[in-house]
Subunit: 339 residues, 2 copies
């Protein structure tokens, strides 16, 4: 900047690169902004109007990253998909309460990425937001020399949704004789990537297992499916929604069960994708652990009255009836898989 300067770039922070990133994402981010957004890029906060005419609006927010899926993205040299994982994951989370998204914000940090790589990741966030009509109203790109390992990064997102308080889905309507429907996952989604990387550590990411039919990297980067648009018409009749994330069905289904209920699922009633069979055989992993770490083909669990199930199963591709809610002792909230 002048002759007598310790350039900030000498400390590992490249402000020019940050400007380049901004130039490369401006179009994608702008495309997400709708008429309810009152702020532009670079303001101190993303400003969004609430929908008009709500009586008792409640906000629902969730924050997440995509776990070590970022490491696979970097190793495979494809930065464009993890942003979609992030948005879809967060949106699915708040969907479990019945909320639809109002805004999204993202954060990306790294130590040594090129502006093109950083922009590719952020543009993935923006693309998913555009697809789902969610304004991406704020974001932060941080270059943190010394914090992240070489060629590694993290990608964090927060979604904020809104709904009328009376429409909240809190699981309190879940009752014995309700049925359990599985909506299929689109692969490993964003959970269990660390274990998967360990299991596949002897294989290159471009290796093609015959049972997968595509490179391992592509298989592991398959985008987390978003269930928003498919479930939207059914929200009024749904009693409970469990996004199958870390902890699998064992930990996630109990999150929405009333105290005195339990759930019994039938093994074989849903399709387990070949990837998980492969992980099981290569990794010598127990049945119980598999269902704890991975989604095993179930991306979202829907609990509803039996009379409403047919319509959901007929409408949502791949949906299947996999079990039912039963009475149990208070505090049980147990999940059993019958083999």
């Amino acid at each position: 900047m002048t002759d007598k300067t310790t350039q900030y770039s000498a400390a590992g922070v490249d402000l020019e690169a940050a400007d380049k990133v901004l130039d490369s994402i401006r179009g994608g981010v702008r495309a997400t902004l709708n008429q309810n957004v009152l702020s532009g890029i670079g303001s101190y906060g993303g400003i969004v109007r609430l929908p008009k005419g709500m009586t008792n609006p409640v906000l629902v927010s969730s924050v997440d990253s995509v776990g070590t899926k970022v490491s696979i993205a970097s190793a495979y040299g494809n930065f464009s998909t993890v942003g979609r994982d992030l948005v879809n994951h967060c949106v699915n989370d708040i969907l479990c309460t019945g909320a639809t998204p109002l805004l999204f914000v993202d954060y990306i940090a790294h130590s040594d990425f090129s502006p093109e790589e950083t922009a590719s990741a952020i543009n993935g966030v923006a693309a998913a937001c555009e697809d789902l009509d969610i304004p991406l109203v704020a974001g932060e790109t941080a270059q943190l020399p010394g914090v992240y390992q070489a060629r590694e990064f993290d990608l964090v997102g927060t979604v904020v949704g809104v709904l009328e308080e009376e429409n909240l889905i809190l699981g309190s309507k879940v009752a014995p004789e309700d049925v359990v429907i599985a909506l299929p996952s689109n692969g490993i989604h964003t959970n269990g990537l660390s274990l998967a990387r360990k299991v596949f550590s002897n294989y290159e990411l471009d290796f093609v297992f015959p049972e997968l039919g595509r490179p391992l990297g592509e298989e592991l980067l398959a985008i987390h499916r978003c269930y928003l648009n498919e479930l939207l018409p059914f929200l009024p009749s749904i009693h409970g929604l469990a996004h199958i994330t870390g902890g699998g069905i064992w930990d996630n289904i109990p999150r929405i069960l009333p105290e005195e209920t339990c759930v019994t699922l039938e093994w074989g009633s849903w399709q387990v994708p070949p990837l998980f069979h492969l992980i099981q055989s290569l990794g010598d992993i127990s049945f119980r652990e598999l269902l704890h770490v991975f989604n095993m083909g179930i991306g979202m669990i829907v609990i509803c009255d039996r009379k409403d199930a047919d319509q959901i199963i007929r409408t949502i591709p791949g949906a299947s009836l996999i079990g039912e809610v039963q009475t149990n002792t208070p505090g049980a909230r147990q999940v059993t898989v019958r083999r």
Copy 2:
């Protein structure tokens, strides 16, 4: 879990440690939840009621980390303060639009932290939220082996605030003859840490420079000051607020200036803390660069009508009149410091 298992912990993810963290933060997080929060810990989304009786509510959101201040926290072995930095920084950002916080969510990721260290960082977030009466409604702790360097972590937060649309402070009221007030920073805040670390790279963090009078680590970890409560009574009469973060006064003041205005500040009209003089002399950094990378003693810029300035300066400790707004050619938005 069973006899035939590749434990998830063998892949570097310690689920038991995650449970320990949760146990250690539950109390602190619960203390932030007020009667408007409808969700408990562990639900799929943080659920918060909007304030009753708003006519045209708009939400304002901002996401940030604390930069490489996390590295200093880790090296100095004090994880308790960066969470406060994070909350205060984010709250100051949305305060620039006039918004007051409604909810906060946090994300922490690391590769090898103990549950105690992780919990200490999160409890710092919770403590700041409790002080400011902001519910901490969602959070995520991620152990990402291989992504973060040993003994490093990142801490990311998102704040969502709310206000009536008509009360938005967008800088449009800023006009020639308005005055510029500086609110003092509490040290380096969360910007320029990478350069500061480079400048001080030959000193241990427990070294005490006479002009600082306390260990370097303590000085650099001084908590980012929050201006919410001090500025709240004055928001109706304020024309513009610029939080002095990355880019310093050069980049931040123009964010709130109308096209045809510029700002002239008087060097010497605010106090520059000893830390910055020390950085300047050790690092041989130019005047312009210093004001670009560091806050140089100014945490927040307030622009208002001259008649309203006295009250603000008399009420907020350390506030001082440092310059004025002038007319310039369209598109100028220039900041000048007269020495």
